[in-house]
């Protein structure tokens, strides 16, 4: 804290991802110009979020309760669980409306080079869920990049001995794209993962 209120806010805002000093300055001055009725609810929303929001005890989705609404929903099938890196990934999959099972949020992805080891993620918790529950399938929906792939590989290796089916979401071409512009790895994976028609 510098004692200068504007400088303090700029300093705090730079802690957000993707916000550099220049953007922070712009935001701080913008907030200065906002009427109290608009600016204060932002601060209150942050306070409320930090007071009330927490991670679901079972799946580590964000919730205001002990257990999130998805885990509590009796209409969802409990024999499959979809593993994602972040709560934001869960929201995107929910929006597709085709998945009716449970989730497990890892809160990150493995990265050997950055020292993100399995114990830093919610992997042990996933193993425990599989051991206890009546899970028949674990669908790994980590990102299709190196960290996501390393995470998927690791999880599949420790889950398979438990006798549960482990699947990975398919790699494919983006809809609305053009094969000509697909890169060779994406294209190779799409051919490998082809489906019978």
């Amino acid at each position: 804290m510098s004692g200068n209120v504007v400088e303090d806010l700029i300093h705090e805002l730079t802690k957000l991802p993707g916000i550099g000093r220049k953007s922070a300055q712009r935001l701080a001055f913008f907030i200065m110009g906002m009427p109290d009725s608009e600016a204060l609810p932002i601060a209150e929303a942050i306070v409320k979020l930090k007071e009330k929001a927490r991670f679901c005890r079972q799946c580590f989705n964000i919730t205001e309760d002990e257990v999130c609404s998805i885990c509590r929903d009796p209409g969802r099938s409990r024999d499959r669980v979809c593993v994602v890196e972040e709560p934001s990934n869960l929201i995107v999959i929910e929006n597709t409306k085709i998945y009716k099972g449970l989730y497990h949020v890892l809160l990150g992805a493995l990265s050997p080079i950055d020292g993100i080891t399995p114990d830093r993620l919610k992997i042990n918790e996933l193993v425990e869920r599989v051991k206890q529950g009546s899970m028949s399938e674990v669908i790994i929906a980590t990102n299709p990049n190196t960290k996501g792939e390393t995470t998927a590989q690791y999880i599949s290796q420790i889950l398979k001995p438990l006798g549960v089916r482990v699947s990975r979401i398919a790699y494919g071409l983006p809809i609305g794209g053009d094969i000509e512009f697909a890169d060779e790895v994406t294209l190779a994976k799409s051919i490998e993962g082809r489906n019978e028609m």
Binding site: G18, P112, Q153, I158, P174
Partner: protein
């Protein structure tokens, strides 16, 4: 200013919502950081070309010292088979971590570039089962290529034969040379003749030949521990990748 070069992606980190800062080992500019706009969007024109280990032809815009922007990146060899193999990616990550930690940015080293490409090809095509030795050899060779290999060929001061490695001297030392003010009681590791023999082979012979050697598990363990101590001393910390479980099957 537009520059063209070839690079191998060593690592990348997120920047902002969809941008990326990519660390390359380039063929003619050493280690270099560059910036890519929106590659994380699914429809990005960069495709998978910014994923770690990718060997690509690059066009960069801007000064090398001030984070140039990647304007084009065409895959020469993706090395995605390595990324899809858990053990391989953990081991190759260790090489890359060593490289980034020990090598200052911006110093050209074309031999190192060729060497890393060679390693990636060897790991990608290597047979499962003999990989442990290969990974050990590549670590030793990498250290030798960048001038940080421990010296195990006799006492580092007088040349007399010795099996005692002193991590804080980076060399084996004989009992005569190690006595003296400040030297007594320094930690050391006693190595086996077999381990030293294998080590010399790994340094002196080309990888595709030394890769045919079948060292005992004990030898691999011994030399891995030695490199671990050596690197911990050089970096004043443990490698992140050394904390990674590779034993899972």
């Amino acid at each position: 200013m537009l520059t063209r070069t070839e690079g191998i992606v060593l690592n990348s980190r997120k920047y902002g919502d969809a941008d990326l800062i990519v660390t390359y080992l380039t063929s003619d500019k050493g280690i270099l950081n560059a910036f890519a706009k929106s590659p994380r969007k699914t429809k990005s024109r960069f495709g998978s070309s910014l994923e770690p280990l990718t060997h690509a032809r690059l066009s960069l815009w801007g000064k090398e010292q001030s984070l140039p922007r990647i304007t084009q990146s065409d895959i020469i060899e993706p090395f995605h088979r390595i990324r899809e193999n858990y053990h391989d990616i953990v081991h190759v990550s260790m090489l890359i971590e060593m490289l980034i930690a020990l090598l200052p940015a911006g110093i050209p080293n074309s031999r190192l570039f060729t060497f890393l490409l060679n390693i990636l090809h060897t790991v990608q095509t290597g047979e499962e089962g003999s990989k442990e030795a290969l990974h050990l050899i590549t670590r030793i060779r990498l250290l030798a290529t960048i001038g940080y290999a421990p010296r195990l060929k006799g006492c580092g001061r007088c040349g007399k034969e010795s099996l005692d490695f002193y991590p804080d001297s980076g060399t084996t030392l004989c009992s005569r040379c190690v006595t003296g003010p400040g030297s007594a009681g320094k930690p050391f590791m006693r190595l086996s003749n077999r381990a030293i023999h294998f080590y010399m082979h790994s340094i002196e012979w080309p990888i595709h030949i030394s890769n045919r050697l079948k060292p005992a598990t004990e030898t691999i363990r011994e030399l891995s521990a030695l490199l671990d101590r050596h690197l911990t001393f050089l970096l004043s910390r443990k490698l992140h990748t050394s904390k990674f479980p590779v034993g899972v099957k």
